[in-house]
């Protein structure tokens, strides 16, 4: 799949079909998910209606981490094999990733106010998501560091790989620091986790977020390929080389 799509031509052909599908699925599941989470699901016995924030917050957090993981994988491929499409892909994951992280921080803060009576708490998970936010920012600014795009992309990919250390920290932070933040409810399927009437809206929203992520990054990759193609077409012929014996 990945090697098949590694060719820009094939990717463009794939994106022409897949992008609308992703877009439609994102839109439909978002509308349905919003309806489910706002109206179609019961309030929590502890948190009341505040629990509805979960349906926007948790998928944002997941997608922020997923986007960073994808970013790291693409960066690794671009660094090791110098594949130009991996460069483009990595850059295209960064902006949606930054947006998800920002959304996660904002909704988390809005959720925290009614439930914990504080906008912000310096616990492990929140701090590490904030760190993720800064890493995204640093990645984007290194990505436009020098005018030579290839060089900037390569430098940014190095930063992305070093920054990946933060992802497992976010994942395990709730277990390492016992604080306000509730531990993951979905991961322990054996234990009584989320009731189905809450699980469904959550999963629908996760689908909406991930298909949106797919749609957004695919459009970004598409645009980038096309603009590089026009830039290449406009490129002047190089200097003529002559070698004479003196």
């Amino acid at each position: 799949m990945i090697t098949y799509l590694a060719n820009p031509e094939r990717f463009l052909r794939f994106a022409r079909v897949a992008k609308p599908i992703f877009g439609v699925v994102a839109l439909l599941s978002f509308v349905y998910g919003l309806w489910l989470s706002l109206i179609g699901s019961p309030p929590d016995y502890q948190q009341g209606h505040g629990v509805r924030m979960m349906y926007v917050h948790v998928p944002a957090a997941w997608c922020a981490m997923m986007a960073y993981t994808a970013l790291t994988i693409a960066s690794f491929v671009s660094f090791v094999w110098r594949h130009p499409l991996a460069d483009i892909a990595a850059r295209s994951f960064a902006v949606p990733g930054l947006a998800f992280t920002f959304l996660c921080l904002i909704t988390g803060s809005l959720w925290g106010k009614p439930t914990w009576n504080t906008w912000w708490q310096w616990d492990g998970r929140m701090t590490s998501v904030l760190i993720l936010f800064f890493i995204y920012l640093a990645y984007l600014s290194v990505g436009s560091l020098v005018s030579d795009k290839k060089k900037s992309a390569r430098l940014a990919s190095i930063l992305a790989m070093v920054g990946f250390i933060n992802i497992p920290i976010i994942k395990f932070s709730v277990e390492w620091w016992n604080s306000l933040h509730q531990p993951a409810t979905i991961s322990n399927f054996g234990a009584p986790g989320l009731p189905p009437e809450m699980l469904w809206p959550l999963l629908t929203m996760v689908l909406a977020y991930s298909t949106f992520f797919g749609w957004a990054s695919m459009s970004a990759i598409q645009n980038q390929i096309l603009s590089e193609r026009t830039a290449r077409a406009k490129r002047q012929t190089g200097a003529k080389i002559t070698v004479d014996t003196l």
């Binding site: 640093a138 430098l155 190095i158 930063l159 920054g163 933060n166 920290i169």
Partner: protein
């Protein structure tokens, strides 16, 4: 060859007297400003002294990150060294050691002075010095990394801070909690182990990343 670079950097540091002194002066000024801002409540000052001193140390270090590679890059020395010995990791590790000796150690030796300013007990000063010492490789490694990543652009202070800050936040968090716990549990407590782990991870990831950045900078 590392030893040659370290020797040269030490010689350069003794010749250009100003640079490392400036770091220590900044450290002292930062502490003085913090004390003025926080008022003269000595109980409060003693309580938050570890955080202030750690912050002052980190700020002074952040200021000096930009200079690690800039001069060698701009006068062509870095290219020459790379051409002679195409192993950027050797250069990076030499610079790492030289940077610790010339820039961070003078700051580290200034910590007891800070202890005097805050009227700290010997225990707390010892805890501070130990926690900074254990976190020091992480600070230097990420500093070298940020400096190497931005060297093609010349010294770009704000960007260096943006790159380092996410990685140094955990160091700061554990560093400060290490000082608080030193008087109770001593050196074998969790924050010290975490700091040690952070330093190990930093050396294992940031130093190779710095050498890859240096190489990329010339491509």
């Amino acid at each position: 060859m590392q030893i040659d670079i370290i020797k040269r950097d030490l010689l350069l540091a003794t010749r250009s007297k100003g640079d490392w002194v400036m770091g220590v002066i900044f450290f002292a000024v930062f502490l003085a400003l913090a004390v003025i801002a926080l008022g003269n409540d000595s109980a409060l000052l003693r309580q938050i002294a570890p955080a202030i001193v750690w912050l002052a140390f980190l700020m002074s270090a952040l200021l000096s990150f930009g200079q690690i590679f800039t001069q060698d890059y701009e006068d062509g020395t870095l290219a020459q060294i790379l051409i002679f010995q195409q192993s950027p990791l050797k250069i990076v590790s030499a610079k790492f050691i030289a940077y610790i000796i010339t820039a961070l150690m003078p700051l580290w030796f200034a910590i007891p002075l800070a202890g005097l300013m805050f009227n700290l007990t010997i225990d707390v000063i010892a805890g501070l010095m130990l926690s900074v010492l254990i976190g020091l490789p992480a600070i230097a490694a990420y500093g070298i990394f940020a400096s190497a990543l931005t060297v093609v652009k010349g010294a770009s202070g704000v960007l260096i801070v943006l790159i380092c800050a996410p990685f140094l936040m955990p160091v700061l968090i554990f560093g400060i909690s290490a000082v608080d716990i030193y008087t109770v549990e001593g050196l074998w407590s969790a924050p010290y182990k975490a700091l040690f782990g952070l330093s190990l991870i930093a050396c294992a990831t940031a130093l190779p990343a710095a050498s890859a950045s240096i190489k990329t900078g010339f491509e």
